[in-house]
Symmetry: C2
Subunit: 393 residues, 2 copies
C-alpha cells in the first residue's frame, strides 16, 4: 500500500470571535489530538526523567521526538526491529518528529550545505553523516511518527536577506523532494504517517509569503512555521506568526515549532496557531523552576526552606498532591534525581492545563477576555523573555 493518504482529518470545532484562536481536533493513527495542543519534547525516545504513565497522567496528548538523535542512537536498525518508536518506548499516543535539520545546525558540527542535503559530524562521536530529504523521510519512517517534517534549513537570527532567501528556496525544493519520497514509500508499520510543510524565510515578509504560498500550492495536510524563537525580538516574532497564519489555509492545522512560554502560547493561539512543542517546561523544571497561575517560582529559593505547601495549592498533579516546596528544595540541594522528575511532572501538568483552559475558553467564547487577564499575571514574571528553540533536551 503506497502512502498516498496524506491527510489525517483536521476539524475545527470552535472559533474565537475576537481573535484568530480556534479549537480543533486532529485524528491520527494513534488517536486524536485536541487543539490547541502542546507536545513535550522526548529527544531520545523519552521525555527526560518521566515515564509514559506519568505523561498520560499529566494529560500529555502527544510528544515530539528528535529525528537527529534517534538516527544516531539507537539507530534505524534498532528502531525498525522494535517496530517503531511507539513500541520501543511504550508510548501509544501520537508522535511528532522534527526533520533533524535544526540539530545539525545547533548541536552537530555542520560541515557543508549542498543542494542535495547537509553534511555534518555527530556531536556524539564525530562520525560523518549526510542528511538528504529522502534520508530524513527514511529516518522518520523508521521512527513511525504520526506527523513528519521535511528536511529544512533554519536561518539564525539575525541573518542577511540573501542567506534567508537562499535557504528558504532550498527548503522549498527539499519539501517537494521529501513529499515525493514519502508518496513512493509504503507504510512501514501499517499505519499512515503524515508529512507537513515547513514555512521558512526568517523575518522577511516577502520570503515568508513566497514560502507559504509555494507550500500551500503543494497541498500539504498541515503546516509548520520554522525559523522563529531563535532570538528575534518578541514583536517581530508575533508579526511573523500573524503573517503566516494569514497566509496558511484556514482549514489546515498550523504548528509553531519550538514555542514557548505560557505567554507565547497564549499570543500564538490568539493568532491562529494549533500545535506547539518546546523543551521549556521540562528543562526549567530540571533546574527547579515551576510554572504556576501566578507566575514562575524557584523551589530552590532559600525562602522555600520551610515552605510546607505545594508548588500550587490548587494543582491536582502528583507532585502538588504529595510534596511540599520545602521537600522539593531539599531534594534539589541534596542533588537528588527525584527533584528533577517532580518539577518536570508539575510543569508538564501546568502546560497541559494551560492548553485545556484555552480550548475551554475558545469553546465558550471567553478566550480573549480571559487571555488578557491571565497573561497580565503571567507576563509579570516573563517580560522580555525569549526562549531559544533548539527542540532538543
Amino acid at each position: 500500500m503506497i502512502n498516498k493518504t496524506k491527510s489525517h482529518t483536521f476539524e475545527i470545532l470552535a472559533e474565537d470571535s475576537k481573535s484568530q484562536a480556534r479549537r480543533g481536533v486532529l485524528q491520527t493513527a494513534h488517536g486524536s489530538l485536541e487543539t490547541p495542543c502542546f507536545f513535550p519534547v522526548g529527544t531520545a525516545g523519552t521525555v527526560k526523567t518521566l515515564s509514559p504513565d506519568e505523561l498520560v497522567a499529566a494529560g500529555v496528548q502527544g510528544i515530539l521526538a528528535n529525528s537527529y538523535h534517534l538516527y544516531l542512537r539507537p539507530g534505524l536498525d534498532v528502531l525498525r526491529s522494535a517496530g517503531g518508536l511507539h513500541k520501543f518506548m511504550n508510548w501509544n499516543r501520537p508522535i511528532l518528529t522534527d526533520s533533524g535539520g535544526y540539530q545539525v545546525f545547533s548541536l552537530a558540527n555542520l560541515k557543508r550545505v549542498e543542494d542535495e542535503g547537509v553534511l555534518f559530524q555527530s556531536h556524539i562521536d564525530g562520525s560523518y553523516h549526510f542528511l538528504t530529504p529522502a534520508k530524513v523521510i527514511e529516518i522518520q519512517r523508521a521512527i513511525g511518527s504520526d506527523l513528519m517534517m521535511p528536511l529544512d534549513l533554519c536561518a539564525p537570527y539575525p541573518t542577511t536577506y540573501a542567506q534567508a532567501k537562499e535557504w528558504h528556496e532550498q527548503t522549498l525544493l527539499w519539501a517537494a523532494e521529501a513529499r515525493l519520497e514519502q508518496e513512493q514509500q509504503p507504510f512501514l508499520y501499517g499505519h499512515p504517517q503524515e508529512l507537513w510543510g515547513i514555512v521558512q524565510g526568517s523575518t522577511f515578509e516577502d520570503l515568508r509569503r513566497e514560502s507559504a504560498s509555494e507550500l500551500v500550492a503543494m497541498n500539504f495536510p498541515g503546516y509548520a512555521i520554522g525559523g522563529l524563537a531563535v532570538g528575534e525580538p518578541r514583536a517581530i516574532f508575533l508579526e511573523i506568526v500573524e503573517l503566516c497564519a494569514e497566509l496558511l489555509p484556514e482549514e489546515m492545522p498550523r504548528y509553531l515549532m519550538g514555542v514557548g512560554t505560557p505567554a507565547d502560547l497564549l499570543d500564538a493561539v490568539a493568532l491562529g496557531m494549533d500545535f506547539f512543542d518546546c523543551v521549556l517546561p521540562t528543562r526549567v523544571g530540571r533546574g527547579g523552576s515551576a510554572f504556576t497561575w501566578k507566575g514562575r517560582l524557584s523551589v530552590k529559593a532559600a525562602h522555600e526552606k520551610e515552605a510546607f505547601i505545594p508548588i500550587d495549592l490548587d494543582c491536582p498533579c502528583y507532585t502538588c498532591r504529595n510534596f511540599t516546596r520545602a521537600y522539593l528544595r531539599h531534594l534539589f540541594v541534596a542533588e537528588e534525581l527525584l527533584a528533577l522528575r517532580l518539577v518536570s511532572l508539575h510543569n508538564l501538568h501546568f502546560y497541559q492545563e494551560l492548553m485545556a483552559r484555552m480550548r475551554g475558553r475558545i469553546a465558550d467564547g471567553t478566550f480573549s477576555v480571559w487571555k488578557s487577564e491571565i497573561q497580565q499575571i503571567l507576563r509579570e514574571v516573563e517580560s522580555g523573555e525569549q526562549v531559544a528553540n533548539n527542540a532538543t533536551e
Copy 2:
C-alpha cells in the same frame, strides 16, 4: 508522655526446622513489618530516583534513612517543622535510621574519637560537628524514625584486637547513654520510637560474645549486628552472623546492617536474621545491573541492543511489564535518567519478591530445600563477591 514504651511487638509466626530461619512480624507506629524484611536505603529522605508510590508498588515495607545525611541536610529545624521525615517525604510506612556513626568513618573527615563522642568535618562544606550518643538520639527524634540506632563505632576490616576491643567497649557505654537519653525524652510527634542495640566486636568471637551479652542485659527491644560486610571473607562473615544469632534472644528481632546480595540474604536468614538494609539493588540498578532469578544481567551489554524482551519475562514490575532490555540499554547509552529509575525499580521489586518468597518458604516448611536450589543459581554470578556496607547512597 515519657518514652518508656521501648518495645513494639515482635511475634514469630513460623520457624524453619532445618535452619534458624524464622518468619515474623514487627508492629510499629507506621504499620507492621513482615520478616524477613529488606529495607532499601533512602539516604537523604528519598530512595534515589524513586517516588514513594513506586516503592509501595514494588512491595517495599519500610526504608532506611541516614541520620548523618539528614542532620546535615535539610537539618533538624526543617525536619521538626515538617513534623518528621514521614511527613516531609510523604512516606507513611516504617522508617529505620542508622546512627550516623558509620558515615562519620566512611564519608566524613573523622577528626577525633573521644569518650564523649566523635568530632568530624562535614563532607559537604567542611564544617565541624560533634556527635554524642545524646545528639544522635536528638537527630533521630527529629527524624521521627520508628526504629533508632545508638551511636556506635564500627571497626574496619582488618583491625587489631586492641582496637576492636576499645571500640566495642565504647559502643557499649554509648548504647547505655543513648538508652538513658531516649527514655528521658517525650515522643516528639506523638508516636513511639524504638531504640535497638548494636553488637560490635569485629571478627573476634570473645568480643562479640561480650558485646551481645552486655546489650542483652540492657534489655533492648531489638538488636542490630554491626561491623560486618566491611570487606571480611565471606566464611568469617557467616561465622560471626551465626554466633551473634546464637547469642541474641530468640524472641527479639535481629537486624544485620548493610547486607547484602541475594545469596547473602538467603544465608543470613537461614542463620536467624530478620532485618536487612543495603544500597545494592538501587546502586547497581543505576549502573544498569538487574537482578533476576537466573542471576544478574547488565542491560547495558552490547548483546542486549536488539533484545526486545523484558529483564525478566515473569516479573510483574512496572519496568518488566512495559519496557524491553533494548530500550533500557538505549536509555543508558543515551544517558537518560529514566534508565536509572526503571532498573532501580525492577531491582527493588526483585528484592521484595525474594523476601516474600523466603517468608512463604519458611511458612510452608520448604525453606532449606528451596534455598539451596535457588542459591546455586544465584551464586553462579555472585561467587566471591563481598559488598562493602556504607549504608549511604
